[in-house]
């Protein structure tokens, strides 16, 4: 059966590092590790107290695998709620694999993805939304999403919903009271107070729902489309941004052959840069396809960089005028996108040309990706675009799609109650929507029972002939 066996897995990222942590969890975790752990002080692992750390070696027969630190957590005071041993060994992949294979041969099973968290959940260490937060936490690779996940794991999110639910439950009790005790002379709470409560709930729900957009970009990175022809300096710019932050760059193959996405962390926020072709009018068929793709990419992005090679503006012809027309076009087509015209190769432009640009394109940002001049300004501009105020105030942010769905549905139900009250709908039918809203809240906090309603009624009201 599921929880009878002992599972093992690498707890730190795979690959080489200074140290690696191997986690073993289950009924036999301590005895299995104990069989191969030789403490330098001659201590027996199976006789140690919970929450202790021991130095020693992993030894099989005559073979010593590594010098390790072993941390002991006894049930139920561990992450999974089971007996847990964490082995900190040296980070070479060879050592990691040798140790894991040793224990696999001796009674452990390789943990499935997320199985430690599943066990924590099954053992009542985490509730559902907390368990989900852990998954997010593991997946988060920037400071902001880390913060959200941590906050959610501590219950911040379910607490806010819980408060709402309690208020609504009170409301529901009053409705039920009206229904089941019409013959009694109970005093009903007034409808204005109900309306007021509904409005407050709606506001909070809307705020949480809106925060999903923020939460989602923070988790997945804010998409930034770079519109620009080849050789305007896109990769140089990306590298400039990158070098400054020493952030992780991951190269993900785009959905189409000709787009590349780079993810860069700036000021604790993830940005996803989408490289595109230009959008100049053309009659060339192949180029036309590229342009259509460009528009698709702009559609997905929240921020658009219109990157231009400063030098090309002054070669010959009406380049500057054409540029202004194109910018207007993009602006008209996407009034809600944050558009920033970036003129590259500042270092190669003459004073005259610089002042021409300043005059003709006052909002454009001049920089040199090569020298790094102006890159800092670009970053500040980016951060300014993203409203991160909510984050810094430690407010609740919704990042989980399941929660988002429940919130949307709860809001719909609450709105129906509101309309119903305006239309004079009978309260037994109103209560249908109230119960539904409560259920959706319950999907997040994990509790719903009609007993709550009755309990509330009896505790607070004088009823009965």
């Amino acid at each position: 059966m599921l929880l009878k066996d002992t599972i093992i897995a690498l707890a730190t990222p795979s690959g080489a590092g200074a140290i690696a942590v191997i986690r073993v969890s289950g009924v036999d975790a301590i005895s299995i590790v104990g069989d191969f752990f030789k403490s330098i002080h001659g201590k027996n692992l199976t006789k140690q107290k919970s929450h202790t750390i021991m130095l020693g070696h992993i030894v099989e027969g005559n073979k010593t695998y590594d010098q390790v630190l072993v941390s002991l957590f006894k049930n139920p005071h561990s992450y999974t709620g089971e007996d847990v041993v964490e082995i900190s060994c040296h980070g070479s992949q060879y050592i990691q694999q040798q140790i894991i294979q040793l224990f696999l041969r001796n009674g452990c099973r390789m943990a499935d993805a997320g199985e430690f968290t599943l066990r924590a959940f099954l053992n009542g260490k985490l509730d559902l939304s907390q368990a989900e937060a852990v998954a997010d936490l593991i997946a988060s690779d920037n400071e902001a999403s880390h913060q959200i996940a941590i906050q959610q794991m501590r219950g911040g999110f379910s607490n806010e919903i819980k408060t709402l639910r309690d208020e609504l439950l009170n409301f529901a009790s009053l409705i039920e009271l009206e229904l089941d005790f019409t013959e009694e002379d109970v005093e009903f709470a007034n409808r204005d107070q109900f309306k007021d409560l509904l409005h407050r709930i709606q506001n909070v729900l809307r705020r949480l729902i809106d925060s999903f957009a923020v939460g989602n970009v923070i988790k997945n990175g804010i998409p930034v489309a770079i519109v620009g022809e080849p050789n305007v300096g896109k990769s140089t710019l990306l590298n400039a941004l990158l070098n400054e932050e020493r952030a992780i760059v991951s190269e993900i193959a785009g959905t189409t052959r000709d787009t590349i996405e780079d993810e860069i962390s700036i000021g604790g926020l993830g940005f996803r840069f989408i490289d595109t072709a230009g959008i100049r009018e053309t009659e060339d068929v192949v180029e036309g396809i590229g342009i259509r793709k460009t528009f698709e990419k702009i559609e997905q992005a929240q921020v658009v960089f219109y990157l231009v090679d400063g030098c090309s503006l002054f070669v010959d012809g009406n380049h500057l005028e054409n540029l202004k027309v194109e910018i207007e076009k993009v602006k008209n087509q996407y009034p809600l996108k944050q558009l920033l015209v970036v003129i590259n190769k500042k270092d190669m432009l003459s004073e005259v040309n610089l002042s021409t640009i300043n005059l003709q394109l006052a909002t454009a940002l001049l920089l040199s990706a090569k020298t790094g001049e102006g890159v800092e300004e670009l970053k500040n501009q980016l951060l300014q675009f993203v409203n991160t105020g909510t984050l810094r105030n430690n407010e609740t942010i919704v990042t989980n799609t399941r929660h988002y769905d429940s919130l949307i549905k709860a809001l719909e139900s609450v709105e129906k109650v509101n309309f119903g009250m305006d239309d004079g709908v009978s309260s037994d039918l109103l209560s249908l929507d109230i119960r539904e809203a409560l259920n959706h809240f319950g999907e997040i906090t994990g509790e719903i029972t009609s007993d709550d309603l009755l309990g509330n009624i009896f505790a607070n009201f004088c009823i009965g002939k």
Binding site: M1, L2, L3, G81, R119, F121, L122, N123, G124, D127, L128, E176, L179, D180, F181, T182, E183, E184, D185, D423, G424, V425, S426, S427, D428, L429, S431, L432, R435, E436, G442, G446, E447, I448, T449, S450, D451, L453, L454, F458, C462, I463, G464, K465
Partner: protein, 622 residues
């Protein structure tokens, strides 16, 4: 003296016992009803009324299945009201005031006219049990009567203890003996028992009251009725009245608090919170200086009057003095004082969904013995116990109603899944899907089932099918027939609804809030259709509900279907919960004790959290 062996022996002749005996006998079981007093079959021990919110729906369900309570109520009613008519149809609740003596008489006559039903008057003080199986009863005279199944419906009689002020004495009701022996024997078998408390107000002489000082409470102008059969509606009705207590009355009552068994610790058991005694109301809600009292006649001719709302166990002199200060009661004369009664019950988590006990085979419990309160709750359990006893003896499938099929289903599932700490009364809010459980469609929901098990007769089924066909045709008529603006607009105008410019299907206008069947009947084509097809009130009501509330009904059905998915995940009978360390301690303990049949049932056990359910689902392989 007796049949060699009965099929079903019913102990007790109250609402539960009478329905149990009627059901078993009507289905073909040789049935014996044993009671301490054959004069009190179908006795209304408390208020002279049937139905009310949620309870009225139960009576209609009993009737739809082929039980007698609805018919008896109609035949002995003195006033009828459809409560909550201003609310949605799920809340419409029939309630009748009854002639207490005629009610009991009708029950007796109905049972006497039921073939296969024998009677015997004596106290049962023990069960005959062999190999974990019940096989009869033993009476106080030492007579043993053999029976294959036994239904216990002892009401408040098991070690009943009556309290009036500082006086206390054994009794099952005022003036009647308590029953002994059964509890003790059941405890020996390993049953767990508890004590509950209920109370009743004083009965007074109607000739001593001044009704001119009270508020008149008449019945409905056009009274309806409970039974789906051809019982008659009332031509004349008796009025009730309303008055109220005052600060002075409360002060007088408080003078007796030191002699109240409620407050001096003599009564330890729990009474119903929603049916508190007057002293309890004053004590718990000290800021209220007035409570309503309903003055209800006990019958057509009797002068005896029931003072609803004045349930009390204070000393009789305190009761009397305080009641004399109530408006209209200045010269009141008592017939008998109010009292409280404590009695044994058996936590119903010891039962299966069929109401058969888990410990002793073929032994069934119904009514107050299961910790419920109310005639309707008791009657429905009696009916279900009688049905299931018969079915089991005949090796047929259990008859279990689901929570979205009947209040009876909600009631029994609540009892055996959650148990009850206080006398359990039905409320509409206990039903998750009350929009489906209406008084207007109990026959559509349950009569086919009642017919299938052999309880509801052919005639009943035919009436129900005719109603269904006619209302479906009428609904279609509204969906298909158009109405001109000049015809419908006067109606829309009369209810302040927006006028229409083009002709449209009638169903559109009918679906609007405030537009009722009565409005639609003003249209000639509608009234013509009604006349041509001779549609009766029930068909009109059914059509109106289904047209006007179709959206809500569909939504509830949808929600109920979701529940069925968890209902389908069965838990093996001998599942070892102790293996699941991941369950909370409380959940494990509750699950061990109650042994739910499905995950859905498990989810309704208090103390079993959604996390526990997720754990169970994981282990059940979902």
């Amino acid at each position: 003296m007796f049949e060699k062996e009965y099929d079903v022996i019913v102990v007790g002749g109250g609402h539960a016992g009478a329905e149990a005996a009627a059901a078993a006998a009507n289905m073909g079981s040789k049935t014996l009803l044993v009671t301490m007093n054959l004069q009190t079959i179908g006795q209304m021990s408390c208020n002279p009324a049937m139905g009310g919110i949620a309870k009225g729906q139960i009576v209609r369900e009993i009737d739809a299945l082929g039980g007698y309570s609805g018919i008896v109520t109609d035949k002995s009613a003195i006033q009828f009201k459809m409560l909550n008519k201003s609310k949605g149809p799920a809340m419409w609740s029939p309630r009748a005031q009854n002639d207490r003596m005629r009610f009991a008489e009708e029950w007796r006559l109905m049972l006497e006219n039921t073939p296969n039903c024998d009677f015997y008057q004596e106290m049962v003080n023990g069960l005959l049990v062999e190999n974990g199986k019940v096989c009869g009863v033993k009476t106080s005279l030492g007579i043993e009567v053999r029976g294959k199944a036994v239904v216990l419906t002892n009401g408040t009689f098991l070690n009943g203890l009556i309290h009036i002020g500082e006086k206390q004495f054994g009794g099952g009701r005022a003036g009647e003996k308590a029953a002994t022996g059964i509890t003790e024997q059941l405890l020996d078998f390993g049953f767990e028992s508890g004590r509950m408390k209920t109370g009743t107000p004083p009965r007074v002489d109607g000739r001593s009251l001044d009704y001119s000082k009270m508020i008149l409470q008449p019945g409905d102008a056009i009274p309806e009725k409970f039974s789906y059969t051809k019982t008659k509606t009332l031509k004349t009705q008796r009025d009730c009245h309303m008055t109220h207590t005052s600060a002075l009355v409360h002060d007088l009552l408080k003078e007796g608090f030191d002699r109240s068994p409620m407050f001096n610790g003599r009564i330890k058991s729990i009474g119903p919170r929603y049916c508190p005694s007057i002293e309890d109301k004053i004590n718990r809600f000290a800021d209220k200086d007035s409570h309503q009292l309903f003055v209800e006649p006990e019958g057509w001719n009797t002068v005896e009057v029931y003072v609803n709302g004045f349930s009390t166990s204070l000393p009789e002199d305190v009761q009397f003095k305080a009641l004399r200060s109530v408006v209209g009661f200045e010269n009141v004369k008592f017939f008998r004082p109010g009292y409280a009664i404590e009695y044994d019950y058996f936590p119903p988590t010891q039962l299966k969904h069929t109401l058969e006990t888990k410990l002793v085979e073929n032994l069934y419990f119904a009514g107050q013995i299961n910790g419920t309160t109310g005639y309707e709750e008791a009657a429905s359990q009696g009916l279900m116990a009688g049905i299931n006893a018969h079915l089991k003896l005949n090796k047929k499938e259990d008859f279990i109603l689901k929570r979205d099929e009947a209040y009876i289903g909600v009631l029994i599932d609540d009892l055996i899944t959650k148990g009850t700490e206080e006398p359990y009364r039905m409320f509409t809010s206990r039903a998750e899907y009350r929009t489906l459980l209406r008084q207007d469609n109990a026959d559509l929901r349950l009569t086919p089932k009642g017919y299938e098990i052999g309880l509801a007769g052919k005639e009943r089924l035919k009436r129900m099918e005719e109603k269904q066909e006619k209302s479906n045709a009428f609904i279609k008529f509204f969906e298909k027939t158009s109405v001109l603006p000049e015809d419908i607009n006067p109606i829309l105008e009369s209810v302040d609804s927006a006028l229409v410019k083009q002709s449209d299907k009638m169903v559109k206008a009918f679906s609007r809030p405030k537009v009722t069947m009565n409005h639609m009947l003003q249209l000639k084509s509608v009234s013509a259709f009604v006349e041509e097809n001779s549609l009766d009130r029930e068909v009109l009501e059914q059509t109106e509900v289904q047209v006007k509330y179709s959206g809500y009904i569909a939504k509830e059905k949808n929600n109920a279907d979701k529940l069925h998915r968890l209902e389908d995940v069965k838990i093996p009978e001998n599942f070892d919960y102790s293996k699941l360390k991941s369950l909370s301690y409380e959940a494990r303990e509750k699950l061990e004790a109650i042994r739910p049949v499905t995950i859905a049932q498990a989810s309704r056990i208090s103390g079993v959290s959604p996390s526990d359910i997720s754990v169970l689902l994981v282990f059940m392989g979902r």
